[in-house]
Amino acid sequence: MLRDMTLGQYYPADSPIHKLDPRVKLAGTIVFLISLFCFDSVDSYIVATLFLIFVIRLSKVPFKFMTKGLRAIIFLLIFTSLFNLFLVPGNTLVQIWKLKITDAGLQMAIFMSVRLVYLIMGSSVMTLTTTPNDLTDGLEKALSPLKKLKVPVHEIAMMMSIALRFIPILMEETDKIMKAQMARGADFDSGNIIQKAKNMIPLLVPLFISAFRRANDLAMAMEARGYHGGEGRTKMKPLEYKRLDYIGYLTLAAYLVLMFIADRAVLVTRLADRII
């Protein structure tokens, strides 16, 4: 659980998707999510499905990790499906007492579920293949034009990456202190609220002290190495687009074009109409 936090949901693997510049992945994710809202024909969703499968296969992340994020929205999924199923007017397919399932309702329910699932899976691809630190780096670079508007982009990014770095350390520390106090007979579970709050003191005091000590140490270490904010600062590993990244952008463009064509051509829909 602790290491989970360190890396968000990062799943380490050696794949082209992992190697992509975080900016490409950010752009890709945003484009994919928006495309799901802009196009709603069956044809374009087939293209989206193929694209998603293609990217997932390329990322070498086992499929079961992709679906992990779905657990969080399972209720949302069920509720939207049920509401759509019973409340959308149309030609009645099945009638159970006063509840009618209509053809339009069924269509809507399936469509909305697929859209939700794709939204989650689309963003999972990014979080599974990018460490939070890379993501912050990417954001910093992508937002750097805002510096002209006096937005402290570098400082915000630095704060984000320090916070990300500290979360796992503090989690580990909490775990350690909790165990040490449990070995001394501490009880963090029982009692009423006031009792519980009081029981937390042996955990919180050492935790705060160590957090402040660490923050202090870090500030000192940063200053000792001449850190003075973003002005004139260069990076050890500057984000630079490589060939792979251009291929990534091209693929993304190709995806958009295909989506557009599929939406206009509505081949599948026409075919289906003719058969019926």
Binding site: L2, M182, A183, G185, A186, D187
Partner: protein, 288 residues
């Protein structure tokens, strides 16, 4: 009766991409009253193993029996177990939180539900054992030096007067005198109260001097579990897994190779001195 560990396995982060099997099929019997040393290279699973002994970690598979009772069975009293099996963590300074040292040491016995005067008596006794200066008792624990904090933290567990005392590298970062003081006190306590002591350590010298049994961990498995002399016979294998035997073992081995008929099984400096003197007194004419 003691503690018994049966085919224990432990996996950190099971079911994620960061799975790490820290213990593999560990079987151990720890009878009452033994002084045991656990050694092993960094990351060999020592800390993981001892956290199973008082139920802080739950085995992925396998059993831990305390006095014959499975500690994972329904309704087992974990709090009681933790009061009987005292565990001093690696770098225990983290756990200090009270406004002064004495009150902090009282925290453990107070959690046992003892009357106030008994709590104070135990805290005072524990602090005395660790040799912390009396004028520091009323100071804030955060104003102490590293070594003093360590002593205060160890006292915090000693004050609970457990029948099994586990210490995870209690002397890491202490000066030689402080190290010997603490270990001597613990050895005396062990002899006096007949408690079980389990000492996790990197120092072969420390381990050889105090314990009657050594458990060597290697990559999550028990590699050796025997008397110190027998374990150190395998000094070549120990070296291969990043450990070593005490220096006297090497000395005695060398002497033996040179033809001195000394006993190579001695494990402490005192024994070695004795052994060499014995040989010299008998006035052998072998020249080294």
């Amino acid at each position: 009766m003691g503690i018994e560990i049966q085919s224990l396995n432990y996996i950190y982060n099971a079911g994620t991409a960061f799975e790490k099997q820290a213990l593999k099929d560990v079987n151990l019997k720890i009878p009452d009253g033994q002084f045991i040393g656990i050694i092993g290279h960094t990351g060999s699973g020592k800390s993981t193993l001892i956290q199973h002994l008082n139920g802080l970690l739950k085995a992925t598979s396998g059993k831990v029996l305390y006095n014959g009772e499975n500690i994972y069975s329904e309704g087992f009293d974990m709090k009681k177990l933790r009061s009987n099996v005292g565990l001093v963590f690696q770098y225990p300074e983290y756990q200090l939180f009270e406004t002064d040292v004495f009150t902090d040491v009282c925290y453990g016995p107070k959690n046992l539900g003892l009357p106030a005067d008994e709590v104070k008596r135990r805290a005072a006794r524990a602090l005395k054992l660790t040799g912390l200066d009396e004028e520091l008792y009323k100071k804030s624990p955060f104003d102490l030096s590293g070594g003093q904090k360590r002593r205060a933290a160890i006292a915090g567990i000693l004050a609970m007067e457990p029948s099994v005392l586990i210490l995870d590298e209690p002397t890491a970062g202490l000066d030689p005198k402080g190290r010997d003081d603490i270990l001597d006190q613990i050895a005396a306590l062990q002899a006096e109260r007949k408690i079980t002591v389990i000492l996790v350590s990197h120092s072969m010298e420390d381990v050889a001097r105090y314990v009657q049994r050594i458990i060597v961990m290697n990559r999550g498995k028990v590699m050796y579990d025997d008397k110190p002399a027998n374990v150190f016979k395998h000094f070549r294998e120990l070296e291969r897994v990043g450990l070593s035997a005490p220096q006297v073992t090497y000395l005695m081995q060398e002497l033996h190779l040179k033809g001195w008929p000394v006993d190579t099984d001695v494990t402490t400096v005192e024994e070695a001195v004795e052994e060499i003197l014995k040989y010299c007194r008998t006035g052998s004419s072998v020249h080294a």
